[in-house]
Structures are given as C-alpha cells and as structure tokens.
Amino acid sequence: MITNPTGRLTQGQFSFLPDLTDEQISAQIKWALAHGWAVSIEYTDDPHPRNTYWEMFGLPMFDLKDPAAILMEVNEARKTFPDYYIRVMAFNSTRGVESPAMSFIVNRPTNEPGFGLSRQEGHGREIRYGFHSYAADKPEGERY
C-alpha cells in the first residue's frame, strides 16, 4: 500500500496542499511581517526531516516592510536552485520565544522519489526503524 502516492515532502505549513501561488505566498509573508517576524529563505537538497538546518539564501531580511521585496528574493532563489527544496521561514525574536513561527515550502524538485524504510534487527526481538531519502543516495548537488 502506498501511503503517500505523490511522494511529496510534507514538512512545515501547507505542505499537504497544492503548491502556493505567488499571491498566496505574498499573503503569508504579509502576515509574518505584520507580526514583526524576520523572514528568511532557506534551501536544501536533503529532505530528511531531521535535517533542520537548511542553507540560508542571501542575507536575512530584518528591515524589509513589503512582501514584494521578499517575493523578489524567493524568485531569485528559484532561479538559482530550480531543483532544490526552498522554504520561507519567519522567526519570532520575542524574548522567551526565539523560535521559528512559520515555515513553508515554496519550491520543490520536479521529481520527488520519496523515502525508503529500513529495519535493523537489534538484541532479542528489538527492531530499529530508520528511513532515508532515495534522493540522498546520490552526492550533494546531483540529487534531483
């Protein structure tokens, strides 16, 4: 039985929905800016869910006021890394919170092979489960 027939990566917000349009992305960024969160763009080609630190694209955008500027940067990132995962993050720097408040994928590779489940026999009848992305078998930069 295939549980996720499309093989789409489901991390962050809106990942079960169809890809967001540019207007929808703008609206989300506008929401983040209205809360005073710092927006940044990150990319990776290793979709493993434990890979939490993606590479940052460009500079962090602390002092921007309008979503158009950030969308411009998103499009720049898409042009540079057309076959990478790209996400937009919003960081809430309120003292005591200091964590990402939003994170959603804005670009994904055309072909997402998905993940394979591996089992390892441990002591007794213990079984350790692990999974890895089929794409990650290839070296970095050639994965998609």
Binding site: L64, K65, D66, A68, A69, M72
Partner: protein, 308 residues
C-alpha cells in the same frame, strides 16, 4: 450569463464624493496647504496626481481598464525649497490613495547605492530597493550617481538596476529623484532612459520675501516662539538683505537665522537678570534679536561666512 447582472454597466452611477471622503485626500491636501507656504506649481501637480489616482480607482470599480500610471518623480529646485519635505508628504499621499502599500520613505544618497569595488554595487542597490518596496525611495542629489569624468565609476551600474526595477516593478515602489536644477538637467541629458521613465518632473520655485516671513512664523510657532510685531518688520528687512547675500538657501537660511535669533534672545534674557520674567518673555523674539545680526551692521551674515 448570470454574472452580467452583477457587473456595473455604463448606466451605473458612482458616488465620487463617497470615494473622495473615504480616501481622506482632502485632509492631506489641506495640511499641505497649511504647512507648506508657497510652492504653487508643486501643490497643483500633487492635486492633479491625486485626482488621477482617484479617477483610476473609480474606473477600476466599473471594470474599466486602469493601468497603473507611472508615479516616478524628479524634484528639482534650489537648496532649501522643500524638496525633502514634499517627498515625505508624497509617501503619505500615495499611501492614502492606495498607490503604494506601506507608505514609508527610504531616503538615500549615492553612498547607499554605489559600492566600493567590483560586484559590490548590484547587491547594495538591490538591498536598498528591497527596503523601499511598498513605499517611496527618495534619492537625494541624484546627479552624483553618474560621474561621466570617470568611466570606471560604478554609478552607472546602480542606475541600470534602478531603471530595471523602476520599469518592471512600478507597482511595488515609487522612486523620487531630487537635486539642484542645472545639475539634474545635465544628469537627465546623459541618462535619457532615466528621464523618460519619470512621469513627473516638478520644479520647486524660490520663495519670495513675504513667503519666507510666513515660513519663519510657522517655524517659530512649531517650537512655541513668536515674533513681536516690531520684530516681524525687522525680519522682513533682514530677509530681503539676506537674499542678496551669497549662499542663500531659502527656508534653510531662514531656519539658521531663527536659530541665531533664539541664541541672542536667550542671551538678552540672561543679561536681564534681576527682574522677573514672564512666559511671554520666554516666548517672544524682539526686534533687537534680529537687529544685532551682522547683516545689518556690515552687511556680512554669519552664515555667508561659515559657508553654509
């Protein structure tokens, strides 16, 4: 089709007054009239722009095409004629008319746009443009961007990026260039692309003496000062004399003159120790405070000397 009945037809009437009130333009224009003395051509142009944007808004309501008009501007005029002040207002006006989304003003000069080594300029300019998006980018003394005598100057690169964004993303930001008239004319001559992308070339006229006196009164009122009647007469003479001096910078010279008058007033009050001062004493600038200016004695004003 069912949606034809929802669409307003040519018979539909639109209440222009309602849209007008809603946008609170009158409020902005009134404030413009009250707080900016003179500058008739500038105010006329702002009124025209406001009208155009309002009509476009109405057209859009009736599903008529209303292409976003280009709103890039160039402000030319002598020093101290209020270019920066009007640019600040412009951001507010365009925001109220719904032309720009955030209505903030980012004021920059050449230093903020042009980098120091190869490959530094483009990211620097783009950073500034991103910061200004949704608002107004005000480039003061824009002619410094282009230095024809040095062909390896990076200013041209900055202009190229500016032009590209001014053309492709005119919904996202408005660029206002400002500078002295003659130099800006030369700048536009050597950058015809820039000139043609700017829809509004607004020239700021010099102030005449009565306007300058009015400006002075407004400036004093802002900081809770006032002139005595006698002082006003003297100040009017001062203005006429000062205008003939070199380095006259319109309202800026007036501000400096007032600052010096306040200095003398403070000194005069300080020297009159021994008697009780009233609130009116602290507020009033007397004729004497202007008379002591060197412009009346040997015809040289302090400001003309210190190269202001």
């Amino acid at each position: 089709m069912s949606d034809t009945e929802n669409k307003p037809s040519e018979l539909n009437e639109i209440d222009i007054d309602a849209v007008y009130r809603e946008s609170e333009i009158q409020d902005v224009l009134d404030r413009l009239d009250a707080e900016l003395i003179g500058l008739v051509p500038v105010k006329t142009r702002i009124r025209e722009i406001a009208a155009l944007l309002l009509v476009d808004k109405l057209r859009r309501q009736l599903d008529l095409t209303a292409g976003n008009p280009s709103m890039h501007m160039s402000f030319t005029g002598n020093p101290g004629t209020g270019k920066t002040t009007v640019a600040m207002r412009m951001a507010d006006i365009l925001h109220r008319l719904g032309y720009v989304r955030q209505g903030h003003l980012v004021a920059v000069t050449r230093d903020d746009l042009v980098g120091q080594y190869i490959g530094h300029t483009a990211p620097k300019t783009r950073e500034v443009l991103k910061k200004a998006m949704g608002g107004v980018l005000f480039i003061d003394e824009a002619y410094y961007l282009y230095k024809p005598e040095n062909e390896r100057d990076y200013g041209a690169e900055s202009i190229e990026i500016l032009l590209q964004v001014m053309e492709n993303q005119r919904d996202d930001l408005v660029v206002i260039l400002a500078g002295y008239k003659d130099r800006m004319d030369k700048f536009f001559e050597s950058n015809p692309g820039m000139s043609s992308r700017i829809a509004h070339h607004i020239d700021f006229p010099n102030y005449n003496p009565p306007e300058l006196v009015q400006i002075a009164k407004l400036m004093l009122a802002e900081s809770s000062y006032r002139m005595s009647d006698e002082a006003e007469g003297v100040f009017a003479q001062y203005v006429v004399k000062r205008m003939e001096m070199p380095n006259f910078a319109n309202a800026r010279s007036i501000r400096n003159a007032l600052d010096r008058a306040r200095l003398r007033q403070a000194n005069r009050l300080f020297n009159s120790r021994g008697r009780m001062l009233t609130k009116a004493d602290l507020m009033t600038i007397e004729a004497d405070d202007f008379m002591k200016s060197r412009i009346f004695s040997d015809g040289v004003d302090e400001s003309a000397q210190d190269g202001e």
